[in-house]
Each structure stands twice: as structure tokens, then as C-alpha cells.
Amino acid sequence: MERAVGFHHRIKDRHMWVLFVLPGVLLLVLVLGFPAITSLSYSIRPEKAGTDSYTLSHYTNLNKDPFFKRTFWNTAVFVSLSVAAHMVLGLAVAMVLNGALPVKPLFRIIALLPWVVPDVVAGIIWKWMYDPIYGALNDVLLKVGLINTPIEWLSNPKLALFSVILVNLWRGFPFVMLILLAGLQAIPQQLYEAAAIDGATKVQSFFHITIPGLKKMIVVALALDIVWEVRRFGLIQAMTRGGPGVLTEVLSTYTYKQYFQFFRFEYASAIAVIMTIVLLAVSLPYIWMISQEE
């Protein structure tokens, strides 16, 4: 009798996951899954109401929209340059902070600051830094003698996107640094000592010990950073709102405009769907890696 109760109890316990996991899953489906599907359905709905048919015209229209093409290109430039710069600067700072340094905790906090403030705040500080007449950046560059005339950081068409990326480098590298620092700290110091005894140069140890040891962290940092940079909104909205013209417009700000300035919900949804597909494709290796480990 005792046995039977225990057995019964165990079966029941095996199914108890439903009680724990289901509320979260249902909530997520309700607040996220359902609107996501709704958006997908908007994107294939004709703009003229009253018809039941569906259409792919919003997607084909994207191909004819020069602003969309420009925005897509801007996003690609913005994301790839940002992420590449994050990786280089993030790794460099992480390696320095991983060494013996007297004031390490202080540096860690300093290097983290740009990343912790809200996106909007970061954008606004830099908008003011960049101000051609009253801003701090031109003042310093003029005083040091690096430039002779003030630079129009955000209104010069050739510079605007670059200026925004420079801010995004400032904003995003601390995250990559943190992740890579955690990875560096996990590499046993003995490996470096052994390599040094065997006569390996610093460069050799970097490529044969550091990089392979960081592989997983690099994948994590790359995936998350790409996803975040593609979605980046508040920074650009606060600084340029996509201007001048569409020169700093990225997919997220463009979609926002289509929704809430032009009220073209169907068209905006189509852009958002494209964005989602790109993001899921980029993050698939990461999702796969993590869920296989579970």
C-alpha cells in the first residue's frame, strides 16, 4: 500500500512542471505571441478595409521603396560597424582589465557607465556634445588644434551616420567587454605560463589560447549584440530621428514612422516582419547552442 502511494505520488510529481511552466508560457503567448501573429496578419492584409483577401503587395512594395532600401542599408552599416567596433574595443579593454591592475574595480565601473544609462539619455548627452557651436566636442578639437572649423557632426550628410555609430560604440562596447571579461577569467592562467615556457610569443598565445578559449563567449556576445543593435531605437530617436533626410534612419525608427506618423499599419508590419526574420535567423545559432546545453 505504501509503495502504491509513493508510485502514485511520483507520477504526479513528474507532471508538476505544467503547474510551474504553463503560467509563464500562457502569459508569454498572450502578451507576445498573439500580437506577433496579429502583426504578421496585418502585413498580408490589404490597406483598403472590407476585403477578406490577403495580399503580398506590402512586401513587394518594399522592393520599390527607395527609403526602405536606404534604411535597410543604413541598418546594415550601423549594425556591422557597431558590432565590429564593440568587439575590438570590448576585447581590448577586457584584456587590460583581466591583467594585474591596481585600480581595477574603479575602471570596471567607469567602463560600464555608458551602457547603464537609458538609451534616450545617452542619445541626448551626445546630441549636446555634438552641437556644432555650443557643444563640447568641437570645442576640444578646436582647442587641441585637430580641426580649424567646427564640424557639423549630425547635420553633415557624409558624417551623420558615422557620428551616430561613434555614439553607439560608446554605448555598446561595455556589454561586450563584460561578457568577454567573464570568458577571459575562465581561461586558466597555467595555459599561458606553459606556453611561455615553450617559447610562445604573446601574439601566438593570443591566437592559440585566448581566442579559442573565448569562442563560446564570442558567439554569445556577437548574437546578443547584433540583436540589440538591430533593435536600437531610443538612441537614434533622441539624437537625429533618422535625419538629415533618411541618412540615419534605421529599420526600427522607420517602422515606427510608418506606424505612428503615416499610419500605414500594414506596410509597417511588413517591415517589422522582415526585421523579425532577420533577427531570428541571426540568433538561431545562439538559441540552438543554449538549448542543446540544457
Binding site: 508560457v25 502569459l27 508569454l28 507576445l32 502583426s39 587590460v96 556634445m129 506606424y259
Partner: protein, 282 residues
């Protein structure tokens, strides 16, 4: 001879490291210094050519002005209430789901884990359109409740991951021995697991709080009236005004960014673990 060249090389690389560190420090801090400096200036001094670095007549007027002349009090209240409610809700449901993922190995577990991870990748702009329409229909447009629901989309997947990471570290033997003593699963979760992981829970609540605090997109899309908007939207709106009063805007930005700066400095150690969704094991 060999030692000298080695020492020389060493001193050289040390110098390079310090120059690099100082350059990075300046890059990181310079904008904050500028923000602080501007916030302490009078409006006319902010428009001086060339700009002054240390305010000639420092004044705290802007820090008073944001509360008195602008509605910063309302924005702060809204941001706090909305972010806190989001954080508590998402951490509670996240802890439940995290426990489920941590302790049970059921069919479809990997799929659901993948689902939670994938939801973290969706762009906000995919959801704001439907939210605008749905919330308007049910009367939740331009309400704090609407924003709380929307922020769950950002915070819930994240909280689940973070809580799962913390619960993973609690040995399963604890659950087993409690079960032998006749404790139910729910009892174990509430009376044993939650108290044990309470530091992690506090961290999760704070991170979720900050995620919600830093958002602009959602606030911009599903709130509009002055009594309902958040700090970030309040700041963003000021930039759109015809005449920007920079000292006040900088004071507002500093105050609006302060909760994040303070909390993150406290949470530094838990940051990596929280953000990489358990990919980083110590």
C-alpha cells in the same frame, strides 16, 4: 643586456596600457562630465561661445526646475510604478517557470526553452502596432496598466532565464529531502526555493526594473498624455520642443539616469549572469 631590453619592453607595454586606459576613461566619462557641467549652468551660460567647462556661476536651478516647471514628479512616479509592477510580475512568473525548467525534464522542454529564448530576439516594433490597436479597443491605451502589460514582453523571458540560472545552483537534494518529509512541490517552491534564491530574486527584480525604466519605444507608442508618460518619454519630448533649455534637459537626463547608474553599480557582479541567459556558467 638581455634584461635591460626586456625591462625596456615591459615598461613600454605598460605605458601603452596606461595610455589606452586613460583614453578609454576619457571617452567613457567625458560626456557625463559635460552633462553635469551643463546642468549646473544658467541658460545663457550654456549658450556661450566658446563653451565654459566649469560653470562660471554654478546654480542648482535646473534641478529645481525639472520638478517645479516641468512635470518630472509625475514622470518619475509613473516610471517607478510601471517599472516596479512589471519587475514584480515578471519575476514572480519567471521564478515559477524557471523552477519548472530547472527541476523537470519533460517532453518539449527544449522546445519551450528555445521559445523563451526566441521571444527575447523579437523586435519591439513588431508588437507596438497590434498593441496600439488592441489596447485602444479595450480602453487601456495611454494607461499605466497598458504599459505594464507591454513591458512584460521584454521582461518575462529575461526574468525566467535569470531565475532559472539562480535556481539551477540550488542542489536538487534540498527538494528531494523536503519531498520525503511530505512537502508538496508548491510548498517546496514557496517555502524552500524562494527564500534560498532571494538574493537572486532581488537582482532579477532590479534588472527587470531597469529594462522597463530604460524603454522609450513602448512609452512613445502606447502612451500620450502628460499624466501617463514616463521619465524617458518626458526627456525625449523635451528634445522635440522648439526651444531646448539644455541645462534643464541635462539635469533631467542626469536624474532620469541616476537610478540605473546606482543600481547597476550594485549589481555589477550579477550582471553577466543575468544578461547571457545562463550561457555563462561560473
Amino acid at each position: 643586456m638581455k634584461t635591460t631590453s626586456y625591462e625596456l619592453k615591459n615598461a613600454f607595454s605598460k605605458t601603452i596600457i596606461w595610455v589606452f586606459l586613460i583614453a578609454v576613461t576619457v571617452y567613457c566619462l567625458f560626456p557625463f562630465v559635460w552633462m553635469l557641467s551643463t546642468s549646473l549652468k544658467t541658460e545663457s551660460e550654456a549658450f556661450r561661445i566658446p563653451p565654459t567647462w566649469i560653470p562660471l556661476e554654478p546654480t542648482g536651478d535646473s534641478y529645481i526646475g525639472i520638478w517645479v516647471r516641468k512635470n518630472f514628479g509625475i514622470y518619475f512616479f509613473n516610471s517607478t510604478v510601471i517599472s516596479l509592477a512589471t519587475a514584480l510580475l515578471s519575476t514572480f512568473f519567471g521564478a515559477l517557470a524557471g523552477y519548472g525548467f530547472s527541476r523537470f525534464f519533460f517532453k518539449g522542454r527544449r522546445f519551450l526553452i528555445g521559445f523563451f529564448l526566441a521571444t527575447q530576439m523579437l523586435p519591439g516594433v513588431l508588437l507596438v502596432g497590434p498593441y496600439f490597436k488592441i489596447l485602444s479597443k479595450v480602453g487601456l491605451y495611454d494607461t499605466r496598466t497598458g504599459l505594464i502589460i507591454a513591458f512584460l514582453t521584454i521582461c518575462l523571458p529575461f526574468s525566467t532565464w535569470m531565475m532559472k540560472g539562480f535556481i539551477d545552483k540550488v542542489p536538487d537534494e534540498l527538494d528531494q529531502s523536503a519531498m520525503v518529509d511530505g512537502c508538496s512541490r508548491m510548498g517546496i517552491f514557496f517555502r524552500i526555493i524562494l527564500p534560498v534564491v532571494s538574493p537572486g530574486m532581488v537582482a532579477t527584480i532590479l534588472f527587470a526594473f531597469l529594462l522597463a525604466w530604460g524603454d522609450l519605444l513602448w512609452a512613445l507608442c502606447i502612451t500620450s498624455s502628460e499624466p501617463m508618460i514616463t521619465v524617458t518619454l518626458g526627456i525625449a519630448r523635451t528634445v522635440g520642443e522648439f526651444r531646448i533649455i539644455w541645462p534643464m534637459l541635462m539635469a533631467g537626463s542626469l536624474v532620469g539616469g541616476m537610478p540605473a547608474i546606482i543600481l547597476y553599480i550594485f549589481l555589477q557582479r550579477l550582471l553577466v549572469q543575468g544578461l547571457t541567459a545562463g550561457a555563462v556558467k561560473e
